[in-house]
Symmetry: D2
Subunit: 412 residues, 4 copies
């Protein structure tokens, strides 16, 4: 049974043209968007109930880069890999020599650099909000060191998440901690070279169960304002309370020119770190609607860093990452299928049903023929997951690398 995607594409192209859209421009934008995968998405991971090891899961940064390179090889849009200083460079700068060259040999590059100021025992009671100035200094020093590593490996995004928080009322003083935090962040910010950007993550809870010091986008935003123009808010899709309208936050940050980027994943309850778009694909589409609109009318917002932050436990890791890329591309492609002229008019007329139909007809568009043609034009197999599976890479790694304890990763 032949895949008729070219015939389907032809009909789709007609439909999109009817909506006043330029199909070639849509294809070009799909080719241009780059998505960063995380090194820690290729190593073993777990929940608090246990870690489940996968035979073949990467342990060294070299293996992680090799796995990430597979994702890029089959999707064509994942050329960079975020790194995690503690897990990837246990020996610091020594681990970084030649890493850029090695990455390049695999066809990828190093992306954002992620310091880790939560795992060492010293941080048991917090890092940059710790009452102990020596601990705060340790955390700041690690981040400054990470900036230096970033320079070596060619990273221009410093990606910050803090596990700082408390479990019980009274345990900490919100405002004293806020002052400690600001001072530390400003010190780190000032250590960055001019061409580096800081992206600052927020999270409402976990591992602190009563409060976290940067609990929502507003707190991250205020900190970024106080640091300077190269500090921007990082939106992790799993870091919102139930009912939050995330696309509204994205639009607001874009408008304020403070949207630094994303950590893509999805959640049904807490910070579940599931495959992006797996629980509520319409929400992902609505986020991409804002991003696509912003591309049409750029303001001073920095380039948005599209980063995946998922630690797959039960899914085969590279399969899951390719699937992730497909979900993201699907959401973007659908957002590019919106009849914007008709939508604008319906909004101005308060014809709500028509406005909504503009959204749903785009969302319900089957964009897989479009994406297959895009891949084909990029010299790729139109079905990256099938192609990767057929390559036998994962089975080979399972045999070559075997079943090993991981060198890092959440829950590992």
């Amino acid at each position: 049974m032949a895949d008729n995607y070219r015939a389907e594409y032809a009909l789709l192209a007609e439909r999109l043209t009817d909506r006043g859209l330029d199909v070639n421009k849509i294809k070009q934008r799909l080719k241009d968007q780059k998505i960063e995968t995380p090194s820690w998405g290729f190593s073993n991971a777990g929940t608090r109930f246990g870690t489940y090891r996968q035979p073949g899961a990467a342990v060294s940064i070299e293996e992680k880069l090799a796995d990430a390179a597979q994702v890029h090889k089959f999707t064509g849009v994942a050329p960079t890999v975020a790194v995690h200083v503690l897990w990837d460079f246990p020996n610091g700068a020594a681990d970084c020599t030649n890493l850029s060259a090695y990455a390049k040999s695999l066809g990828v590059k190093i992306g954002a650099i992620n310091p880790n100021v939560f795992q060492a025992r010293e941080y048991m009671s917090g890092s940059i909000t710790n009452e102990n100035p020596a601990v705060r200094k340790q955390a700041v020093d690690h981040m400054v060191d990470s900036i230096e590593l970033g320079k070596i490996i060619g990273s221009d995004v410093l990606s910050l998440w803090f596990a700082d928080g408390t479990d019980y009322p009274g345990e900490g003083d919100f405002r004293r901690r806020k002052a400690y935090m600001l001072e530390s962040l400003q010190t780190v910010y000032n250590a960055m070279p001019a061409d580096m950007r800081m992206v600052l993550e927020y999270k409402p809870f976990e591992p602190g169960f009563y409060h976290t010091d940067i609990a929502d986008w507003g707190m991250s935003f205020v900190m970024c304002q106080k640091c300077g123009p190269n500090a921007h808010v990082l939106v992790d899709l799993g870091h919102h309370l139930q009912g939050t309208n995330v696309e509204h936050i994205v639009a607001f940050l874009l408008d304020e020119e403070r949207l630094g980027g994303f950590h893509f994943n999805n959640h049904k309850y807490a910070d579940d770190d599931l495959t992006v778009g797996s629980i509520n694909p319409y929400e992902l589409f609505l986020i991409y609607n804002e991003l696509a609109k912003a591309e049409d009318a750029p303001n001073g917002n920095p380039p948005v860093a599209y980063m995946v932050d998922q630690c797959h436990i039960m899914k085969s890791k590279i399969d899951a990452m390719i699937q992730t890329i497909e979900h993201i591309q699907g959401a973007y492609a659908k957002a590019l299928c919106i009849n914007r002229g008709k939508l604008l008019q319906a909004q101005k007329d308060y014809d709500i049903v028509t406005a909504e139909v503009c959204m749903t007809e785009a969302f319900n568009t089957d964009v897989s023929p479009l994406l297959k043609v895009v891949r084909e034009e990029m010299g790729l197999d139109p079905n990256p997951l099938d192609a990767f599976r057929a390559s036998g890479y994962w089975e080979r790694m399972g045999k070559e690398r075997g079943d090993r304890a991981g060198s890092g990763g959440v829950g590992a």
Copy 2:
């Protein structure tokens, strides 16, 4: 620009056949599913902040039936109309004479009958859980009267929702109220003729803000068990706390042969009564996945009543109801596109990515060509919303009926 849906359908049919599906059976099931619209969806409605009247909104039950008949005329799958005793029959049985015949003349029938035991001042502190036995009796009598009305108008589903609950800890005694409730429900149940079914709704909050007496499916289930085999749980999609896995509840109730039916709508936060599938269409698809599976392997569950419960405030009412039918059909159609053989195998193999792909490839299928062909085969316009709008009915009603205070409806 011609609509190429027939060409699109041809390609889709090939794809579905490739998935091992019988396209003719899919079309037949789409023709067979019937969805009930609510009389109160055609009258004015509001929030606690105010009611916004729409010119042309129906006031009398005759007008509501006429509007509902429009929905059926253009969709072909909405032949019954749920009625609300208090709002539709303010004079009781006197309003019911000839109503069946009138409905028939419009091409529709009366569906579920909904008593109202929350609006009268006597129910300020509750109906069947009221400490005052006279109030409880008044509520029971009204429901028994509704059963009699149901016999007159040919309804075989008694649909029960209770606003009973409390606002403050201490206000009521959960267990004393439970005993009152059970006694009343059993009395009502026993008054039903053998061919009538009771469906019992649950809701976690509102209008009671601290507790409601039937707060979740479990409480409704226990009450149904204690009433008898013709009492079943009614699932209103908006009546769940954030994070609830509704499709799991649906599956559980189907398995226990206690799923009475649905009140279709959607919510992002509380009981928002938005268009079904408008906030999380994937959830609606996953619910239909369970329903479609259950049709393939029926057990002793009663026929599921598919009822809409939406009170549109801002959307044009008939437009919104036609859109609603389209959303429901879309979800059902997509559920029928799942490659069930492949899915079952992937589940047994714990190949999670493949199992999920079976779901997403079905969900991402653009079923609009399929639905257009189905409508065509039913002698309908393939685009019901456009066709209805083109008919000029709503503008005509706006002029003929004008802008009037409503005779019922939530918030009206």
Copy 3:
């Protein structure tokens, strides 16, 4: 049975002294805190399911002030009354003449002035975010008029809440609406006299069910920043998603010198408008912990406006308002009972159990003897609710005023 509260107070005073606290200062602070009641808390109210009228409920602003004066008479700490322009002054300035004098004669004063830009039919699709510039102008004009009224009646706080939002994805454009909103707010801000402050409320949903334009504290904060130094965030306790750490937000805003004030109430689910402290009294205590701490070390934050925003439906209205004042005083009193020296040391030592015990021993302190003595020293009956009930005022009003349709109020 005599009330031994003086003996209980004596023992309590010893305990507090043992904690290093100055009981006289605590009493003084309890006498000094003023809480504002809302005029709309004395009129009829309802939910979307109906309004339940109470015999004696106030209709005119004069009656509302008279009822509010009762609350102040028996509690001694509620000397001001927030007014609602549309509901209280249907004829605008004409209704305001002599109102200050009338209020004074009752022993109260006018507090915050609340414009209403949501009830008129023109605002069906929004006020300051409306696509129609004429509607935006109407809303801005109403707010500017409200500023003028405020000058007449001696109000120095302009309290703003907007019902603006949407129900469906695609219905509105977040960023275009944001631009409209900012322009309108700045116009209003610039119309204020130098000694007036603007407080700006946020709310995650309702009446818009998909988005509201000022959805969280961060969005309000950014708008305030862009308006100027006399614009501050208003925290309504019911306007947070489940799981939000409200006391953290309060601390953050205090630290940023942007906490304008509160709308006190409580909720278990959505925006339930229940009596403050009735569902989670510990949360209210933790909020007061931040406020009491801030009083000890003032920064440039403006005076915090403590305002009640509750519309009682089932509770007798004046009873409920007196109970509300008692809840607030109780939370404040308990926060003043914290052993701050011990707490600080425990925080620095990361002795979490001891830190928490500092909070719980204060929270578990029965402060009713303290509050009774405070009231006695203020020349009041120690039991305000009992004293008010014994006065027969409410029964008298029920007879004199009777059971009337209300002139305003949420859901009325």
Copy 4:
């Protein structure tokens, strides 16, 4: 500074007598309630972000029992210890010989027995819902073995929690899994001796992030019904979605005679396993209100098992457990202070404010003098936490046992 608790008690006793309560009976009930501590609460624990070891944390079951015995020694109401088969008896029955005698020598007894069917690699994809019959058999066998262990160590409660669930739509089939689960549970149930009870836990999510097979009390209830009269629902306070009215569920289960017991803890967001009563103490009081009422009018509900389920990471473990017992006793004591006669009358009169005042005056009662006198009468130090700390036990264990990797526990 002397502690005047006896004088405070005397005044409190007067107050309670005024409320129509029998203080001696209250004291007796406080002496009679027994609370079970969990062996795993004394070993190291963590979150998915890491385990933080405490010097002195117990490793062997003997050490855990010794630590639990300290809690009982200082509180007098914690005589039993729940055990966890996998973590406590790695060698099965061999570890159980003489354990009862050893426990007795410490002054404690073995309580509920908890099988573990989630940690072994075989359970990666589920235990009793696994598609593989061999895995299901392994899980059932382990539970049957646990029953045998229970007989040896004198346990009469089999406490079951299942980690079974899925992460993604499509991953599993709800109904096929339900059938597997029921068959397994019935097999285990039938293996119990007549004097053993099964308690069955529910949980809405985690470690499964899309669904868990026993997601709510209703699903647990149905399973218990199908097993038999000795199967009851276990309520873990952290296992509810935001907004759930837990006290209502407790009342409902008591009324249905299916409340098996509790896992005490607290949460602000997800399943945080914080100290019971630390986030919302009023909720704990409202739960105890139902329990205390049920004691006044017993039906056929089995004896309720009061079990703690907390894994303290940051708090000193034995301190935290003693604090936990104090929180539970405080909630119970406050519930016993409710003026039930006045409350009943207010409920019947729909005098909501008075009814609520009955609750709040009890909740605001400082019961610490009462509890101190109770402890004194039991021959205990009135301040168990201070007394334990003064004993030097924990410092001694820190030195003797040292800082060791744990032998079990969540996240360890």
